[in-house]
């Protein structure tokens, strides 16, 4: 059992937990993830490690409530426990001194980009970060990203904060005015990462993306997390999650994310009906 020592609501539907998991906190590095299982009935859900405190033995996760599992997770409170919490999984980001690097985080993707930006800056790079969100309210970790970067540029879809528009527009301007850019790291929704890769490919800038396919074990045992990179099929949980974005088969990645859409809907519907029906309301199994 893993205790939630701190809970914070960052934005509607976006939550941050600091979870007591000393072994993970001591061994994890930027770019790696954990898998947690809420309770006996839970599925194994992967979440990127957003921060660590080896002294306190805590691991920070930031998640968006998109379906039943993440909604149930969001209902847990400080002092409560998560049943299983395993990590660190996946390979750490490759950190080195390259010169000028651009970090692009979209939505909840800002959470995983943050530790990478911080390490990149520590390694002596000029770190320009582009943060994108749907609106001002949903923009997270602005202060932290300012600390971790040399410069932060913000875009919102509706223009409620920073520039109006998509991160790719800002990226294109950077490519024109701030050459050379030695590396781009982009984490966010698949469509965003793909769009970023189209831009950087044309400009010939190496780009790393963090893929988040559906996973089960996270240790290389099941192959649920298959992605196609170049000519090869890779298991994202052990070979990734970071890959060279220019080699990723994006169409396949989008398709595979749809594998259980009907079942996810079913789970969510059942969950919402129970809430509306006043059956316990919290959606947990003790009220069944």
């Amino acid at each position: 059992m893993y205790r939630i020592v701190r809970k914070e609501v960052l934005a509607p539907g976006l939550k941050r937990f600091d979870v007591e998991a000393p072994l993970v906190a001591r061994s994890a590095r930027a770019g790696q993830f954990i898998i947690l299982r809420l309770d006996e009935w839970g599925e194994r859900i992967p979440l990127t490690i957003a921060d660590l405190d080896p002294e306190q033995g805590t691991v920070t996760i930031i998640f968006q409530e998109v379906g039943k599992s993440t909604q149930l997770l969001g209902q847990l409170e400080e002092g409560e426990y998560i049943r299983d919490f395993v990590g660190p999984l996946g390979r750490p980001s490759h950190i080195s001194q390259l010169g000028r690097v651009v970090m692009i985080g979209g939505g909840v993707g800002i959470a995983p980009i943050h530790p990478i930006a911080r390490e990149m800056k520590r390694a002596g790079n000029e770190v320009i970060s582009i943060l994108g969100a749907r609106n001002r309210q949903l923009l997270i970790l602005e202060e932290e990203m300012k600390q971790a970067s040399t410069e932060v540029l913000i875009t919102t879809d509706d223009g409620s904060y920073g520039r109006k528009g998509l991160v790719t527009k800002v990226l294109q301007e950077l490519i024109i005015h701030r050459s050379p850019i030695n590396l781009v790291v982009s984490i966010g929704p698949l469509v965003m990462m793909e769009a970023v890769c189209r831009v950087t490919q044309a400009a010939g800038i190496k780009t790393m993306v963090s893929l988040n396919p559906i996973m089960v074990d996270g240790t290389g045992m099941c192959g649920a997390c298959r992605v196609q990179v170049g000519a090869e099929t890779r298991f994202a949980c052990v070979d990734g999650p970071e890959f060279d974005g220019h080699l990723v088969d994006w169409k396949l990645a989008r398709q595979r994310a749809q594998m259980f859409v009907a079942e996810e809907k079913q789970a969510l519907q059942e969950h919402e009906e129970r809430r509306k029906g006043g059956l316990g309301g919290c959606g947990c199994h003790c009220h069944q």
């Binding site: 009935w41 395993v86 192959g223």
Partner: protein, 486 residues
């Protein structure tokens, strides 16, 4: 109510029987809709009648066929004497997991293959008798899975200060942990998944090996004082070197063959294509058959093709039937005679309506516009001259290309070793296939590091993994007794 037990005449009659007593089983029509155990186990009467068939050979060939050398005539004699707990003790001199081996051992190629009666008629049903005894002991509340009695169990404290780390929790690791704990070592077992048991929990389905049985045996090992830490990936959460730094003086690696192979044909990444590991893990470990009460989903559709013909393939096919698939076929390139699965499993699968498409090999998986599996393109094969392995080599028939319409494809063509530990442990030698190289008693190229089970041999069997664990536990004991390690 106790049924009257067989009379002397009945036993005499049974002794002459040329056939094994049949295993009481769930009706195929009923069991296709549930995950409850198929083979129900012998009653006491069945066991006595079957035991009567054993000739109590002085030179027992059957015993030579058992990888852990169980004294088979002795335990069957105990059954004849109705001393079932005595029979269990006899088995447990050599095996820690009889309730499991009695269910899943490929007896027809091991102990029963060499039974003297098997020369002219059916051999004695050694596996069924073993299971009967183990289940009896569990039902009597007398089993802790290890052969240690309950008094000794409750006062168990490690008596030596040598700490041993055991990695993985499949049959190899469980055996090492149990044997070393009995010798007084302080054992910690580390498992990457959230439940201990290895393939016994995530792979072999509930209808063949109930979770309850596996967890019972594991509880026994816990009660011997073994500390079980789940959710720890050795090589990542803690490395092997860090285990030594933390004060463990020996490490056993029993990490299994947990890396699924794919065929490398086009279309294998389409939606609806699973590895057998994924398919079975979703259903067994994550209980997707109880979705949405359990939150892990599974999708099978109407028509399922399973590629491969081993036990894993049979398990996947039978699981697909239980999940509601109407047409399930095994697609295999050779003929029925070469199918590696146990005969009994193939029979069970057939009874459950699984079709065999033999001498057929897939060359491509085609999908629809949305990326979902739609058809499996195959070639027909014929058998040619025997190859180096002595098996007749399958040869593709030109122009035999044809398609099967399918909604799901499960790839069950084998598993290899997971490279995580060898990649993160200095000085640990693996062979070309990635299996850890280990000697007769599990000793590896790193002093103090032992390995056994599927990680060394490649995908094999429960009893072989257990046998390797036994040898390694003895070797670890010798290693720690002989030298002082600091």
């Amino acid at each position: 109510m106790r049924l009257p037990l067989p009379s002397i005449e009945e036993l005499k009659e049974a002794r002459k029987s040329t056939r094994k007593r049949p295993m009481p089983s769930q009706d195929p029509l009923a069991r296709m809709h549930n995950f409850a155990e198929v083979a129900l186990g012998y009653s006491e009467e069945d066991a006595l009648l079957e035991a009567a068939r054993c000739l109590s050979c002085k030179k027992a060939f059957c015993q030579e066929g058992c990888p852990v050398d169980i004294d088979i005539p002795a335990f069957i004699t105990k059954i004849k004497e109705r001393d079932y707990l005595g029979a269990a003790r006899k088995i447990k001199e050599k095996s820690n997991l009889p309730a499991i081996c009695g269910r899943v051992c490929p007896q027809e190629s091991q102990c029963e293959k060499y039974c003297i009666r098997g020369k002219k008629e059916e051999p004695v049903a050694i596996g069924r008798l073993e299971r009967f005894v183990a289940d009896y002991e569990i039902a009597q509340g007398k089993s802790d899975g290890t052969g240690v009695n309950s008094v000794e169990r409750s006062t168990r404290e490690p008596s030596r200060d040598s700490r041993v780390a055991v990695v993985g929790s499949g049959p190899a690791s469980l055996t090492v942990a149990g044997d070393l704990a009995r010798k007084g070592y302080a054992v910690t077992l580390f498992e990457a998944l959230h439940v201990p048991g290895g393939v016994l929990m995530y792979g072999i389905p509930e209808f063949r090996l109930p979770e309850r049985i596996v967890q019972h045996e594991i509880e026994g090992i816990r009660q011997l004082g073994v500390e079980i830490q789940t959710n720890v990936v050795i090589g990542s959460t803690i490395t092997v070197d860090q285990l030594f730094q933390k004060g463990y003086v020996a490490v056993f690696l029993g990490t299994g063959a947990g890396l699924p192979y794919f065929m490398g044909i086009p279309g294998e990444n389409l939606n609806g294509v699973y590895s057998a590991n994924e398919f079975l893990t979703r259903v067994n470990l994550m209980k997707a058959y109880l979705f949405p009460t359990y939150l892990t989903p599974i999708k099978v559709g109407r028509r399922v093709a399973v590629l491969g013909a081993g036990n894993v393939a049979m398990d996947a096919a039978r699981t697909a039937r239980r999940l509601g698939a109407e047409e399930v076929s095994i697609v295999y390139r050779r003929s029925a005679a070469e199918m590696p699965a146990r005969h009994e499993e193939i029979e069970h699968a057939k009874e459950e309506g699984v079709q065999l498409r033999l001498l057929t090999n897939p060359i491509e998986i085609k999908g629809d516009d949305a990326g979902w599996v739609k058809e499996l393109v195959c070639l027909r094969y014929e058998l040619g001259a025997p190859d180096e392995s002595g098996r007749r080599a399958p040869i593709a028939i030109p122009g035999s290309e044809h398609s099967l319409e399918v909604d799901t494809v499960v790839v069950a063509i084998g598993q290899g070793p997971n490279p995580l530990i060898t990649a993160t442990t200095e000085g640990l030698i693996a062979n070309k296939r990635g299996n850890i190289v280990a000697g007769e008693n599990g000793e590896t190229s790193r002093p103090g590091v032992f390995a056994g089970g599927d990680i060394v041999t490649g995908a094999a069997t429960v009893i072989l993994a257990m046998g390797a664990g036994k040898k390694a536990a003895a070797a670890i004991d010798r290693y720690l007794s002989e030298a002082s390690h600091d």
